[in-house]
Symmetry: C2
């Protein structure tokens, strides 16, 4: 017999709610003691089976992706995560074992990211599994990284490598054939993003603007230049590609327009180059300058020959 | 043509996000400055079309119900509301006009309850409309009302009248025939709960325990006595029934076991009776003593003849 809602909460969710303010999930709401001198940072993302993840994806990784895409939003603001509230609309096809594995994924990430479940709601649905998560973090007052701070002359930086997640999705959708071990590397990048929390926190006071790359480099850089009322040039030959991606057809398109990488894109003045490069060994994370902010309002992509090119798509979804 | 996500956010949602910390919904997350000496209070409820509301319910009232059930959780903790994050999973059948009316409902309640949209997410779904809302409020540090504080000897109080919402739902489902104006009164109680925020705040320091009645009186009193490790007696002849409900067959069952009333249930020592009765004219809200907390661990329902009765249902759903 399927667990009822109260049994599910008591057996599966309560162990995830270690923070004292979660009140053991017994009360109507959670309590949170703000740290003096901080602002709270709040973000909420929703995911629907068949749209934001594949119904066959491992349940623990679905849970981790849900949490991590929200933590990535906190990372982009330079925040430290505290906890989260979860809403889960459950179709009948989701059984207790599925939920147990889902919760095991949250337990692993609670430990990895030092966060706690704080509350939420579980309901039934005749539709697909629908998840939403609200993540809460904090940041020293006034130190949050915003999208609107980019200034002409700033370098444009990205963390890690770009395009892997979109290529991993294409592999899962059988639109792209890749040999091992590259195949597994790309799939893991799609299923398990790594929110760049330590980088976001280290960029406070260094970066002028930041965003996480969820919609794709061009789309998200577009958000930065629009909010900052500036233009930008980026150079295709500077795009950081992984060993798994670099020899694949479509890698450059994926790097420009593929979503789901959850790397950080940020701008900083050239005077901070040394400070930023010092972060690389400390965080064990590559950081690459891919272009510059300038006056204007357009976003220009320049190829290895110095020619402006028109990318095939700004919202990458084809193969 | 349907509005895209970005257009919907800019045109419909941004006007709802007046708080400075909402950052015009431009950034990855919202910022919130906690008031000194307060704790944050966080709650999240989800609603699915066809389960938590009827697909034909007016869109503005669906929005208001979604917000208000969350505000009711804040009320039960004695909190003042600040703002909310919204996730909306939209099926194709939901058109721009529907969304405009939905947002107009939020705008009305933003003004009524002095809250602001702070952020969220809109996604598409092949399933039914699925909504989740995370509400944030604050409370003076240490003053939150909890479920676990009830003590033997406490009076048990409820605000307003009970059972109306369940009767209103039965009317909408054509399971119950009622004449006007009672019909409209009951339907409105189902569609538009009134979170008892002023009462919750006034009960800080007076009440030992509180909860909002969303699952039904017996179920929610059950949560209080379980969390407080106590027992309770309630008296059916003391249950407050509205003029619309009092002559209907099933009114007592609805008052005992019907959900969706969103009145507050609280316990307080007899020494606070005067103080609590003084709240009635101030808040223009009836407050009724319906029983008492005692030692033990069971919940006993006593009829007008002083006999213990077994209610027909503890999760009221039949007619």
């Amino acid at each position: 017999m399927a667990e009822g809602e109260f049994e599910f909460i008591a057996r599966r969710l309560r162990p995830l709610a270690g923070a004292p303010g979660a009140l053991g999930l017994i009360d109507d709401a959670a309590l949170l003691d703000p740290r003096p001198g901080t602002q709270l940072v709040l973000t909420k993302d929703a995911m629907v089976a068949g749209i934001h993840f594949l119904p066959d994806d491992p349940p623990d990784q679905i849970a981790q992706k849900l949490l991590r895409v929200n933590l990535s939003d906190l990372a982009a603001m330079g925040a430290e995560p505290i906890g989260y509230l979860l809403a889960l609309a459950r179709p009948k096809v989701i059984d207790d074992e599925w939920l147990a594995t889902f919760c095991a994924g949250l337990a692993a990430d609670n430990a990895a990211y030092e966060v706690s479940l704080l509350g939420g709601d579980t309901v039934s649905t005749p539709g697909p599994l629908t998840l939403s998560l609200t993540a809460i973090g904090d940041v020293p007052k006034g130190a949050a990284l915003l999208r609107a701070g980019a200034r002409p002359g700033d370098d444009i930086w990205v963390s890690g490598t770009l395009g892997d997640a979109a290529l991993g999705l294409a592999v899962l959708q059988a639109k792209l054939e890749v040999e091992e071990p590259a195949r597994e590397n790309l799939i893991e990048r799609y299923r398990l993003p790594s929110p760049r929390l330590a980088l976001g926190q280290a960029l406070r006071g260094l970066a002028h603007a930041a965003i996480d790359i969820s919609d794709g480099l061009l789309a998200d850089l577009g958000h930065i230049v629009e909010a900052s009322e500036a233009g930008a040039d980026i150079h295709t030959d500077l795009l950081p590609l992984s060993d798994a991606a670099k020899d694949l057809a479509g890698a450059q398109d994926a790097a420009l327009s593929g979503g789901d990488d959850y790397e950080l894109l940020f701008t900083a003045p050239p005077s901070e180059r040394d400070a930023i490069e010092h972060l690389v060994p400390k965080l064990r994370l590559s950081l690459t300058r891919i272009g510059a902010v300038r006056t204007g309002s357009d976003l220009r992509v320049v190829d290895a020959n110095g020619r402006a090119i028109e990318p095939t798509s700004r919202g990458w979804q084809h193969f």
